[in-house]
């Protein structure tokens, strides 16, 4: 049985090869169309996948961003609360300890002053509370994060990136050593491993570039506040221009300006529901004491929802995905027509085969195998063009995004699968038409 199956298969392949040889131009056109269509889709998909991927898949449904509307309906954006929290709300949330873990984050710039005659460096750093490293599963090469008591004591401790460790200490274990930031001395407690979640979802609100500029420093949030360290970029106020009504740091802390990102870890659905209630009650209380003149307007979004709110997927990437899928669709419609032409040209041959006893099923098998073979060749061409396209995306997308898009085994497999599957789908109707050919009629008209 098996050998018969194999010999039949080789017979069909042989037929396919013969027919391709007979209609070279049509076959070449189909292969070219499939190759182009599939390659365009794959290149854009690689970029899309790089930007739309879940940065923390094992935990993305347990991490949430709370939003509290302290701007009010007159000043918020179309009814949505600001994406960041005011200092008042952020600290209230941190101290309430209503989640398994809670983290506050804001980004700022720090000047690193090396001991020797090296040039000072300006580095982007995040001020974070101590749960940060455990919450986002940041991997350490040496040492670890700091403790809750370090937070309380506003300790002068710092966690540095492996890149900065390489630059300052040549990659050696620098835990316990000192480093000078903004003219203050800090003790290094940990060195991170290579860690660059893309997008850097947790502090994208304190950065313009979710796919670049990895942070080099992490310091205690409480200490940065004590040092009156300003947020480097994002600082939104409800009413007037930024510097209009803030005479000193204390007024910054008490203002209704939003500049701190908050994250909470809620392992179960019950935790999420409970936290939602707490958030609502907190806002209600603020209304009650007269701080908010509007009913509670709060949000609690998980990582996926948050990435959507923040519009992380570049518009160029999403748009090109749409365009390339339409391109593949048009190629497919084209291929249906060409396949129809190829198959119907062979109506006499089909008539003869049917007259000699070939069943409809045999005709189906023959033509679908032929289509799959063409799809396979189209896939190979598609792979070549995909590789070519991947080399060229650096010219279309920003280098930091293009770098993330890579040609790996899964993409190779997907390219072949897409090519064969779409060619088979395109061949369904032409094959059906081929199988409808009546043996007698064809023989007669040939005579």
């Amino acid at each position: 049985m098996a050998t018969q199956g194999v010999s039949l298969l080789t017979y069909y392949f042989d037929l396919a090869l013969r027919s391709c040889r007979r209609s070279k131009a049509l076959t070449a056109l189909v292969v070219l169309l499939m190759g182009c269509g599939v390659a365009t889709c794959m290149v854009t998909f690689a970029v899309f996948r790089a930007t739309a991927a879940d940065p923390i898949p094992w935990k993305s449904n347990q991490l949430f961003v709370p939003q509290i509307d302290n701007f009010g309906p007159a000043h918020n954006g179309k009814g949505e609360p600001p994406q960041l929290l005011s200092y008042t709300d952020a600290v209230a949330l941190l101290h309430a300890q209503q989640a398994r873990r809670q983290v506050l984050i804001y980004g700022s710039k720090w000047t690193v002053l090396p001991d020797d005659a090296q040039q000072p460096l300006s580095q982007e750093g995040d001020a974070v509370s101590h749960d940060f490293f455990a919450m986002f599963d940041a991997p350490f090469r040496y040492g670890g994060g700091w403790s809750a008591s370090d937070d309380d004591q506003r300790a002068a401790v710092v966690v540095i990136s492996s890149a900065l460790n390489q630059k300052l200490f040549g990659g050696a274990d620098s835990v316990g050593r000192q480093i000078n930031l903004d003219t203050h001395t800090y003790r290094i407690v940990g060195v991170l491993d290579d860690w660059n979640p893309s997008p850097r979802f947790f502090d994208m609100s304190s950065a313009w570039y979710p796919f670049s500029h990895p942070r080099q420093l992490y310091l205690p949030f409480s200490r940065a506040i004590d040092l009156q360290k300003a947020a480097s970029v994002n600082f939104y106020c409800s009413t007037n221009s930024v510097d209009a009504a803030l005479p000193n740091w204390d007024s910054v802390l008490h203002s209704e300006c939003a500049w701190i990102a908050a994250w909470v870890e809620l392992p179960t659905r019950a935790d999420v529901a409970r936290y939602r209630d707490w958030l609502h009650n907190y806002a209600a209380e603020q209304q009650h004491v007269g701080r908010f003149a509007w009913p509670p307007n709060v949000r609690l979004s998980d990582v996926g929802q948050w990435l959507h709110i923040m519009n992380v997927v570049p518009k160029a990437s999403a748009l090109s995905m749409i365009v390339s899928v339409s391109f593949l669709l048009i190629c497919l419609v084209n291929v249906v027509g060409l396949m129809l032409a190829r198959f119907m040209r062979r109506a006499p041959e089909i008539g003869v085969r049917r007259a000699l006893g070939a069943s409809r099923g045999a005709i189906y098998r023959q033509f679908l195998i032929e289509a799959a073979a063409i799809g396979l060749v189209g896939g190979v061409l598609g792979l070549l063009l995909t590789a070519l396209g991947m080399a060229g995306i650096g010219h279309v997308f920003e280098p930091e995004i293009a770098r993330l898009a890579t040609l790996d085994a899964s993409l190779l497999l997907l390219t072949m699968l897409l090519a064969v599957a779409t060619t088979l789908i395109a061949a369904l109707y032409p094959t059906w038409r081929a199988a409808q050919v009546q043996p007698a009629w064809q023989l007669k008209s040939n005579g």
Partner: protein
């Protein structure tokens, strides 16, 4: 005169193949017109003039080391500006906090006519400036006067933004005072005291090259102040941007000399060796990299798509010609000329493309509407669809010409052959 009825009758025998070409034409028109429209909006966006002398301008981003206080920074800034202006090859220079085409960094001003106005304030992008700013930018006054040296204040991180005088762009002037002259009018940047508009400049883009501030990109306000902050508690990070305009042909030399001269002046500063010094030409390339990339990609896809469609038409038309050899032979035998056969296939193609175009216009408008809601694209004018339709129609005629000529070459004797 070609009879349309026999063509339609023949097409009815090839319903599926006809439908496929129609569908393909429709989809192609929908995609190509939208893609071309996106290309057009991008090209318009990235070729907007910034209003400044980009070829001779560069920016130095300078940060302060050691947390100096406001008077110290201010003194250093004056010394730095004197150093920069006296460098050979420098035409002029001034200090600000951001530069055009920077992709962010500038301040956002909320401008009100009255302190207690209930309507939303007019948003504008601000630059700190002094009496050298207009000459450095290379933008011209269209009304009023420049700042005077005695009007340039010192602004610390906690000081309020309430300058006595401001200069605004013509675009902003028109938005604030649609009915009259802006010079001499008072507006409020903060609630404390009014600012008098003393000058209006022709054109000056804010520092956000991206699309998030598109509607106010040309609404710029110049605030006469040196912003002295070292990132010690300001609402946003400190540091200073020096904008330098060079004499023609001197950019390369000054680009190297300027940071060196500043470091020689004082070492308590930080100018990043990687991206601390940026020419406006570099800033433009970087800022519009995505726009240009999308335009190139869309254009490439359009070309591929048109080629694919042309290929499809050639393929199917050839098939039809092959199938109808006998009937063509019969027609020729009955007296039809080569021209008749040629015209037959051309009219047939024009008909099919016509039906596809009608369907494609509907599809294209629908696609544009959905793109408008999801990607904030503007409405596509109908002429884009018209151009697309014309393009497809020409392409169809071109694609069918080869097969049609082969059909016309079929000899009348074909009528007597079997098959």
């Amino acid at each position: 005169m070609i009879q349309i009825r026999p063509i339609l009758a023949a097409l009815r025998r090839h319903k599926m193949a006809t439908l496929l070409i129609v569908l393909q034409i429709a989809l192609t028109l929908a995609v190509v017109s939208n893609a071309l429209f996106i290309v057009k909006t991008r090209v318009v966006h990235l070729s907007r003039p910034s209003g400044v002398d980009e070829a001779h301008l560069f920016a130095i981003r300078n940060e302060w080391i050691g947390l100096p206080d406001v008077p110290h920074i201010d003194a250093q800034m004056r010394a730095d500006l004197a150093t920069l202006r006296s460098l050979p090859g420098v035409r002029d220079a001034f200090a600000s906090a951001s530069y055009p085409l920077e992709q962010g960094g500038g301040g956002l001003a909320h401008i009100k006519h009255q302190v207690a106005q209930t309507t939303k304030p007019q948003l504008a992008l601000s630059y700190f400036a002094d009496e050298h700013a207009l000459d450095t930018f290379g933008t011209a006054l269209v009304a009023g006067r420049n700042f005077r040296a005695d009007e340039i204040g010192r602004l610390g991180p906690y000081d309020k933004l309430a300058p006595a005088v401001i200069i605004i762009t013509r675009d902003l002037a028109h938005k604030l005072f649609p009915d009259g002259a802006a010079v001499g009018q008072h507006v409020y940047l903060s609630d404390d005291s009014p600012s008098t508009i003393v000058g209006v400049v022709d054109r000056l883009e804010g520092s956000y090259a991206g699309s998030s501030t598109r509607s106010i990109d040309e609404d710029t306000v110049l605030v006469p102040a040196r912003y002295a902050s070292s990132d010690d508690g300001a609402a946003y990070a400190g540091g200073v941007v020096y904008l330098v305009r060079t004499q023609p042909g001197q950019l390369e030399a000054v680009l190297r000399a300027a940071p060196a001269a500043l470091v020689a002046q004082s070492r308590l500063r930080l100018i990043s060796p990687e991206d601390g010094v940026v020419t406006l030409a570099q800033a433009r390339t970087k800022a519009y990299a995505t726009d240009r990339g999308v335009a190139i990609m869309m254009a490439a896809v359009c070309v591929l798509l048109l080629l694919a469609t042309a290929g499809g038409i050639v393929g199917l038309s050839s098939f039809w010609v092959g199938q109808r050899r006998r009937s063509i032979g019969v027609r020729r035998a009955l007296g039809a000329t080569r021209g008749d056969i040629l015209r037959y296939f051309q009219v047939e193609n024009a008909l099919i493309v016509g039906i596809g175009v009608v369907l494609g216009v509907a599809l294209g408008v629908a696609a544009n509407l959905s793109l408008m809601t999801h990607y904030e694209l503007p409405r596509m004018p109908l002429w884009v669809l018209g151009v697309g339709a014309l393009l497809l129609w020409l392409l169809g005629q071109l694609a069918v010409f080869g097969p049609a000529r082969r059909a016309a070459a079929v000899p009348p004797v074909e009528a007597t052959r079997p098959g």
